[in-house]
Symmetry: C2
Subunit: 408 residues, 2 copies
């Protein structure tokens, strides 16, 4: 029986990985390993064909392609596909704009929905993804002058659910530590206190099983280009629970949120469904790529994805603790796989130099301040041997560094 | 000498068209004529290569491509390229989101800029593009409760420049009639009355010479997928005059508008320049296509483009008046080419059936309520003979219709 000190042990894990055949559906270079698929998932091979098809339809049908090929429906069609990945019944998810624009719309809407009750506090994690904090501050500053943003540690959110809290804004998985928050419990506690909850699923959708409907989630946004493999800058998406939808208002009332945009009527009449969240024309080529990324992601069994994700984290953390701790490298975030998403961050004081050294040897990951090396363990394309090889490369770089070898 | 009753006359115009070689840069089908390039410009042949390059960079460099290939700079790089087409010095145009989202940002910002003076009226054309009206109403309803939207006929805008007007919101070219408004004169009158002007250049950029800086324009938005040939749903753009930029605020304060987004600081600090208008990650594949469309558009001499546009309109109107008036078809909008953009709308009571008949014979155009057939005369790919052939096809359909032949 091989041990985790041997490459053979990881090869065996790969050989019995139930997801091993999915990897071939991605177009991956042979000579490097990407451990930042949590920032930008790699290209599905089929994306190329989807773009080609899109280009031909653009040429052959021009503007009529929006109707002839149901391009106009894509935001809700892809929305429903994403919905299936996050446990949302059809009609509650729509794709479009960026995650930050989407967050702006939903946060504004949540505050409108709560304004009758006089609630005006946006309660959030002080370590939330900065753009989420910026958007919340912008909404409070510019759109809802009565609103204030209260930032507290994630672990203290429930303690701050006062009767002035309108909406709790949280990332499901912390972008730095990988910490996974208990969605259902926070929803229940927030609802008991009269607050809505708006989740950012950027680092969980497609890799952590989520059941937004069953967990009683109110609102969510997410990102298309991470674990959904939708391509660089792929449009994001919004979820609004069906029970909130009929009265849900958002301020960016562009024509494609109109119930009959091509009647060109003088006054805005919001679509009765989730399309009321949309604004302008979606970037079609990027939308086709997103569709393919979501479709590929949906081919994998999410329970198997989660199982592999937890196993990858466990193996990676064990390797880091066994082989890298002596260089002053520290694992951050929860050790328990059930409490983390699908990335692991290691703290190291010369993180930038180490990342450069790793990139030069073919291992690509990301830096996040302060001093964090973030390893994305995307189960659809990361192999167990990749972890072994990467840690071996780190060990060599760090050992050399003790002799002045780490790149400066 | 051929007359405009003969196809040869139009062939001669094409043979001496100084733009005739540009057409070959587009990928156009042989068997049909697109007269809706004002809604969606056709694909440049080179766009395909740009997408391929983008896909390879995505595969080979993953997230690092944003830095290694200056993808992060593309919104301002393409912005400056569009700036050159509309007379904006560098640093005042940025690409991203949809035209409607962009309009939301700039209209909010214009109202913040004017709020100190107690001005709160958005003055607009009652026949403005519906999405522009919807956005203005949304801003007044949700973001600036003190604001009101005043809709008046375009020709009466100047008469309504009272001291309560904060911002004048106008489309440079009317999406139905093609009527081109006098930008400089309206800017001057609005400024004299203490108002800002926000122009929507969707139907003029790339086809009408515009000099936003010289005309004293304050703010503008525009569309990437019409005469800029950026592809279906291509991102739009925003112009903010340099003199307004340092204090210009917009409410959708996402991370890419931050001066140092990748420092991940806790508080939003807007970029000092035009990038403060951006919010989230731009859809890269669509952005590459836009870049190519803009680059192709910029290869043509804009004075020659305008001259051909005016000539196409003149010839088309003459043909319509000579050969179609007897069927009850009426030319709308100004006859004087100097007062129109690059499309001509014909009014006909059975517009939809006629459009269907034309599509069946290979001529594609668009319907706009009420009863309008809109012909986009994009000078980079529409030929003079296309107009002759299209009018001949209409004449035949209408003559047949008199005998019951028009499709129902």
């Amino acid at each position: 029986m091989a041990t985790n000190g041997e490459r053979r042990y990881f090869e065996q894990l790969d050989a019995t990985d139930p997801l091993r055949e999915i990897r071939a559906l991605f177009d991956l270079p042979d000579d490097r390993v990407f451990l930042n698929g949590n920032s930008l998932g790699p290209p599905p091979r089929e994306t190329w064909n989807r773009l080609q098809e899109g280009m031909l339809r653009w040429r052959d049908d021009m503007n009529a392609a929006w109707w002839d090929h149901q391009w106009l429906q894509l935001p809700t069609v892809i929305g429903d596909r994403i919905g299936a990945l996050i446990g949302a019944a059809p009609g509650q998810v729509v794709v479009g704009d960026s995650t930050s624009v989407n967050l702006f719309k939903l946060l504004c809407g949540a505050l409108y929905a709560q304004s009758a009750g006089g609630r005006s506090v946006v309660l959030t994690d002080r370590d939330n993804f900065p753009s989420d904090l910026y958007i919340a501050d912008g909404v409070a500053r510019y759109v809802h002058p009565a609103a204030t943003v209260r930032r507290v540690p994630a672990g203290e959110i429930i303690d701050h659910l006062g009767d002035d809290v309108a909406v709790v804004l949280l990332s499901h998985v912390d972008y730095r530590t990988g910490h996974l928050l208990p969605m259902r419990r926070i929803n229940e506690r927030a609802h008991a206190a009269g607050a809505l909850v708006l989740w950012d699923l950027a680092h969980s959708a497609g890799v952590v099983p989520i059941d937004v409907d069953d967990a009683g989630t109110d609102l969510a946004v997410g990102c298309g280009y991470k674990f959904l493999n939708g391509g660089p800058g792929a449009p994001g998406y919004m979820y609004v629970a069906e029970r909130l939808l009929p009265d849900f208002e958002q301020p960016v009332t562009g024509w494609l949120g109109h119930t009959r945009p091509f009647d060109f009527t003088a006054d805005y009449q919001p679509d009765p469904g989730i399309a009321r969240l949309t604004t302008g024309c979606p970037p079609l080529l990027s939308l086709l790529a997103l569709d393919e990324g979501v479709s590929l992601t949906a081919r994998a069994d999410l329970a198997a994805v989660r199982a592999k994700s937890v196993a990858l984290s466990r193996e990676f953390i064990a390797l880091a603790e066994t082989r890298l701790a002596r260089f002053g490298i520290e694992v951050t975030g929860p050790v328990d796989g059930a409490q983390r998403g699908s990335h692991v961050s290691l703290r190291y004081e010369s993180a930038e130099r180490l990342a450069e050294g790793l990139a030069a040897t073919g291992f690509h990951l990301e830096l996040r301040p302060p001093e964090l090396l973030r390893f994305g363990l995307a189960p659809l394309h990361v192999r167990y041997v990749d972890l072994f090889d990467c840690v071996a490369a780190m060990e060599k770089l760090l050992a050399d560094a003790d002799h002045g070898g780490l790149p400066r």
